[in-house]
């Protein structure tokens, strides 16, 4: 199924590309149909898996214990194979990817006039790369998809972006590429040094537990860490993000914020920490400090922006700091929180970018100084914006709160001081979120302004995302249950977890 899904999206892209010769409106329908088919394929496959399998603990080194697993020879001489595996975590990420992919297509339904076919093709190819990243178990294959997802995204920004698109696209490309090459270096070192059979192997299962130790291990780990932290993005490697987001077309921003950033977090959780347990935990204080700094720094800068998209981009930096914190705290609560944050942030930020795109499409500006009082002109937009703004500032009852609470609660057992500083992020988030609301939808309205309110297409996308956030906020259990076995499989790999204060941290380290 997994290879088919990837091929389906790729082929869909090719068809969408060529179909623009027939009719410029055709590509978006084809793209939508492709994503829908992909989702259908995914759902029909998982409905075929017996329910109790989802509760079994995944042993990451044993392919048979994954929900789905397939392996074909590719370049046997170097131990490279087409190895795919899906567990609860990948499944969750796949659902998020396909759902947000559909949202991205909807969000730029009428926006693209130049080469719509190529646009949709790049969109689908980005999705192809992302899905590959979430499924690949062979590190070489993983790197391949890591690069595959980069190039169409670069094109999306460089061709369909806004006024300063060349700079932004190049910055995005260079940051990701340089860090990706460092990761390739680490992958090769790991494959040569770390294989258990003596032969070279790029297989995840073979490499687990065989990382080089000491200084070499630390350096190799840093290669992975850098690649993933740049993508996350963690402070201080985040500077490509505001530019890329600001200049990207709406669908690009939605994909970038909703899914691409999550590949960084996924990489840390799946590869960086389990492959290098020792080095990672030595490094954990640094990583957590970066996370905390990111939270505060992102929030401070978000408050200073006057560009709607830039503000939301910096808020992403702030939110992803929580993910970094949660991953390196490495106990059940914090890890579950980090995963929740990936999902909830994906939805809430995608919605905010869609809002930004809708505003730019209508007002031809992203400058908040030229907005104000828009609630008067477009109350439905205002209500939606209000919802997602309070979601992003972590209102309990919505998904983001569950995420932040779990991360901080888990982190508290590891480092109370770090928690106290990170919790300041709750205040700063309120500061910039409400400022955003004030500058755009509140304040003195321009009563002559013609602003078309959300139509049914946009409204239904918004309602779906709202429902998702409420569901995640009030009954996140299905998500937690889906990833729990994965975490139970991963957690024993790391034995030297940071010291904890607690007498009985729930689900914490033994």
């Amino acid at each position: 199924m997994m290879l088919e899904l990837i091929l389906l999206l790729f082929a869909g892209g090719v068809v969408a590309w060529q179909s623009e010769r027939l009719d410029p409106n055709l590509p978006r329908w084809i793209a939508m149909a492709t994503v829908a088919l992909g989702l259908l394929l995914l759902l029909s496959t998982i409905s075929g898996i017996p329910a109790e399998t989802f509760e079994l603990v995944t042993d990451p080194s044993d392919g048979e214990s994954w929900l789905l697993y397939s392996r074909h020879e590719w370049i046997p001489r170097f131990g490279i194979s087409l190895e795919f595996g899906m567990d609860g975590l990948s499944l969750l990420m796949l659902i998020l990817t396909l759902a947000l992919g559909a949202i991205a297509i909807v969000s730029s339904w009428n926006e693209i006039e130049f080469k719509p076919g190529l646009f949709q093709a790049n969109l689908l190819w980005t999705l192809t790369g992302v899905i590959g990243v979430f499924l690949a178990l062979d590190l070489f294959l993983f790197f391949l998809f890591w690069e595959v997802m980069l190039i169409p995204m670069y094109l999306l920004i460089a061709i369909w972006g806004h006024e300063n698109r060349g700079y932004a696209a190049m910055k995005f490309f260079i940051f990701t590429q340089v860090s990706g090459l460092l990761m390739l270096l680490s992958i090769i070192v790991l494959a040569i040094q770390g294989s258990s059979h003596g032969d070279i192997s790029f297989s995840y299962g073979d490499l687990l537990g065989n990382a080089p130790t000491g200084k070499a291990g630390m350096l190799t780990m840093l290669g992975f860490f850098l690649a993933f932290t740049v993508k996350l993005p963690g402070f201080p490697f985040h500077t490509w993000l505001p530019d890329a987001h600001t200049q990207a077309p709406t669908a690009g921003s939605v994909l970038l914020a909703g899914i691409l950033l999550k590949t960084g977090a996924y990489g840390l959780l799946r590869f960086c920490i389990p492959l290098f347990p020792e080095a990672s935990m030595q490094f954990a204080p640094v990583a957590m400090t970066l996370g905390t700094l990111g939270i505060i720094y992102g929030a401070l800068l978000a408050f200073a922006q006057s560009d709607f998209k830039r503000l939301v981009a910096y808020s992403s930096v702030s939110h992803m700091g929580f993910v970094l914190l949660g991953l390196y705290a490495w106990n059940s609560l914090a890890l579950q929180g980090a995963i929740m944050q990936m999902v909830a942030h994906g939805v809430s930020t995608a919605a905010l970018f869609m809002m930004a795109g809708a505003l730019q499409h209508r007002l031809h500006t992203r400058d908040m100084n030229r907005m104000g009082g828009l609630w008067y002109n477009a109350p439905r937009m205002g209500a939606c914006a209000m919802f997602f703004v309070v979601a992003s500032l972590g209102l309990p009852g919505l998904g983001n709160f569950v995420a932040e609470f779990l991360v901080l609660a888990g982190l508290f057992a590891v480092s109370p001081w770090m928690t106290a500083v990170a919790a300041l992020g709750l205040i700063t988030a309120a500061v910039y979120s409400l400022w955003l609301m004030q500058k755009t939808f509140q304040g003195k309205p321009d009563e002559d302004r013609k602003l078309q309110d959300f139509d049914h297409r946009e409204m239904s996308a918004m309602v779906i995302m709202m429902a998702a956030l409420i569901w995640l906020g009030l009954y996140p259990q299905p998500v937690l249950d889906l990833t729990q076995p994965v975490l139970e499989g991963l957690q024993p790999l790391v034995t030297n977890v940071p010291a904890t204060l607690a007498v009985n941290i729930p689900g914490g380290a033994p």
Binding site: Q336, R380, A423, I427, L434, Q442, L474, Q477, L480, G507
Partner: protein, 611 residues
């Protein structure tokens, strides 16, 4: 379905329906749905309360498990005991009256539908707050009411000043909420649960009285309570929050939400009893706040700001009660305060409504004969606020002062401070009455309140008078306070103080025997008045201490200093590029020459290494 679940469900559903109508619902229907849902909740609460009073059984209801990670499994569950019943009655009862009043007050507003959406959402969140069986669900309600308060303060969003007030309200309380969240993390990490009852049991077995951990945990919870209940040092948001519609001020910023901090401390009293230093801090905070706000209220001239400061001051009394361990008295004062402060705000709202949105008390006057129902309400409310004998405020405040007196060591000091506060309360509340309702008229009212306004006013009048005789079912909730015999002189002084205040107010503001103008003639007195008027300059202090540095820092950082590092790499590359460009000069001879030189160099190296 279970009545308990219905109570928060009605307003929640109504809010959802109103929201989905996106303002297209006719205002009659919106009003009926909005107020009716709270009325239905009130009926359910009444049924539940009568059942509860009959058997005194604590009721629990679990709807579903919210999330479950390891041993941490908070539920969406309700815990109904006497304290909850009192709070629910106040919220739905007073809430319903205020909703009814709102129909008339907000009738001409174009977004009445949005108004009722927020109000219903608020009632639902507030009910969740008091009904929650664990601190996480309580936190949900806690933040929920915060957001509703933000939405309602900034309800008239077209004026940026309202938006600023709303943001201030939310952010200042968020500071406290963050402290509270840290408290939750600490409690969860140490005690392994956030369910309130098991948590208090665990705390009692795990901790000794006076240990560092309970002190820290309760101090953090106190942070949340201080923020929400507008106590020092986080009280600055409440006076500004008066920018919202007046019924909002009555419901949220007088009767219910601002007392959530008091509820929180009372709800987790088991923890606070383990932490005597925190308890003492609660008492001192309460005392300091009630005095500071009392002095400030004396100097204000905006009718709603006076009431706002008086709310801060009255919640100070509740904190004082909690701090001296008189939890039941604190909750009692919470209830009576909800009655008379809601009454005062609604009456003030009626004044404002009938006087073309006039807020300045010095431009009112002589309304006694022109708005008789409002005058009656305001007078009764002020009497209760000032704790004149036989009003509800008298009983509750008296109980607090006596409990304070009974405390060892610091008790008499707290009592004396509270007494000074009572004197101030009496002066500023009757100053308000005398200036607004007596003397000559400066603005003529253009309408009279209709029955939807007058009805709630009269009902609240009755409650403000008889509320003092209610016996609250709190006996099984809090530990029984030992009956202390009290010095009768103390009791008489407590009763007499408000009367003295009333006389002073009369002499200053109505009789004219004591001239205020003469008092403030001296420059030191005037600067003192200005100092009080500005709320002890605390706003300015915070402005310079927090707001300006925050804005400046973010302004400095706005152009991304981190990018400078990457830009310097770019610049280094560009510099090298320009330097190396010299070599690429396009001259054939230069290329040939360098090639030859290179070959010579290579040959030289090779020959040197040759044997």
């Amino acid at each position: 379905m279970n009545t308990i679940a219905l109570i928060p469900l009605f307003p929640l559903l109504s809010a959802a329906v109103l929201m989905m109508s996106t303002g297209r619902m006719p205002r009659q229907i919106a009003a009926i749905v909005g107020a009716g849902s709270v009325g239905l909740s009130a009926i359910c609460v009444a049924i539940l309360a009568s059942d509860f009073l009959a058997d005194g059984q604590v009721r629990e209801l679990t709807l579903w498990t919210w999330m479950s990670v390891g041993d941490f499994a908070p539920r969406i569950a309700f815990y109904i005991d006497g304290l909850t019943i009192v709070m629910m009655s106040v919220i739905t009862g007073v809430g319903f009256l205020i909703h009814l009043y709102s129909i008339e007050f907000m009738w001409d507003d174009e977004s009445i539908c949005r108004y009722f959406t927020y109000m219903n959402l608020f009632v639902a969140a507030m009910l969740l707050l008091v009904m929650a069986d664990n601190l996480l669900l309580l936190y949900l309600g806690w933040e929920g009411v915060g957001v509703c308060s933000y939405l309602l303060v900034g309800f008239w969003y077209k004026d940026p000043a309202n938006g600023a007030a709303a943001r201030k309200a939310f952010i200042v309380t968020r500071v406290g909420d963050t402290a509270m969240a840290l408290g939750l993390f600490l409690l969860l990490t140490e005690l392994g649960t956030l369910d309130i009852q098991p948590m208090m049991v665990a705390a009692n077995t795990q901790w000794q009285t006076g240990d560092a951990l309970p002190v820290l945990a309760t101090a953090l919870l106190l942070g949340g309570a201080v923020g929400k209940s507008a106590q020092l040092p986080l009280h600055t948001w409440l006076p500004d929050a008066m920018a919202g519609p007046t019924p909002v001020s009555a419901l949220i910023h007088a009767a219910t939400m601002v007392t959530a901090g008091v509820y929180l401390i009372a709800r987790t009293y088991g923890l606070f009893l383990l932490a005597p230093p925190t308890m003492e801090a609660v008492a001192w905070i309460g005392l300091a706040t009630l005095l500071l706000a009392g002095f400030t209220a004396l100097a204000q001239n905006d009718i709603k700001r006076i009431l706002a400061y008086s709310t801060i001051s009255q919640i100070g009394y509740m904190f004082l009660a909690l701090g001296v361990g008189a939890f039941a008295s604190g909750i009692f004062h919470l209830m009576t305060h909800a009655f008379f402060k809601a009454l005062l705000f609604l009456a003030a709202g009626a004044v404002i409504h009938c006087l073309h949105h006039e807020h300045n008390i010095f431009r009112m006057g002589g309304l006694r004969t022109r708005l008789p129902i409002v005058f009656l309400s305001f007078f009764i409310g002020s009497a209760a606020l000032a704790a004149l004998p036989f009003t509800s405020g008298f009983y509750s405040k008296d109980a607090i002062l006596l409990s304070a007196w009974a405390l060892e060591d610091i008790g008499p000091w707290l009592w004396a401070g509270g007494l000074l506060g009572a004197l101030l309360t009496s002066i500023y509340s009757f100053r308000l009455v005398f200036i607004v309702f007596f003397g000559e008229a400066k603005t003529e009212p253009d309408r009279q309140p209709g029955w939807k306004m007058a009805g709630p006013l009269l009902l609240l009048c009755v409650l403000s008078v008889v509320g003092g005789w209610f016996a609250l079912p709190l006996a099984n909730v809090f530990p029984v306070a030992d009956d202390h015999t009290v010095n009768h002189a103390v009791e008489w002084i407590s009763i007499g103080t408000p009367v003295v205040g009333l006389l002073l107010a009369y002499l200053m503001f109505l009789g004219g025997q004591l001239s205020v103008d003469k008092i403030v003639a001296s420059s030191s007195a005037r600067s003192l008045r200005d100092f009080w008027f500005s709320g002890w300059r605390i706003d300015q202090l915070y402005e310079t201490l927090w707001v300006t540095p925050y804005k400046k820092t973010s302004y400095w950082l706005r152009n991304e200093p981190v990018d400078a590092i990457y830009n310097s790499i770019v610049s280094a590359n560009q510099w090298a590029h320009h330097r190396l460009l010299v070599l690429q000069n396009g001259e054939l001879r230069w290329y040939a020459t360098t090639m030859v030189l290179g070959i010579i160099l290579l040959l030289a190296v090779m020959l040197r290494n040759a044997p």
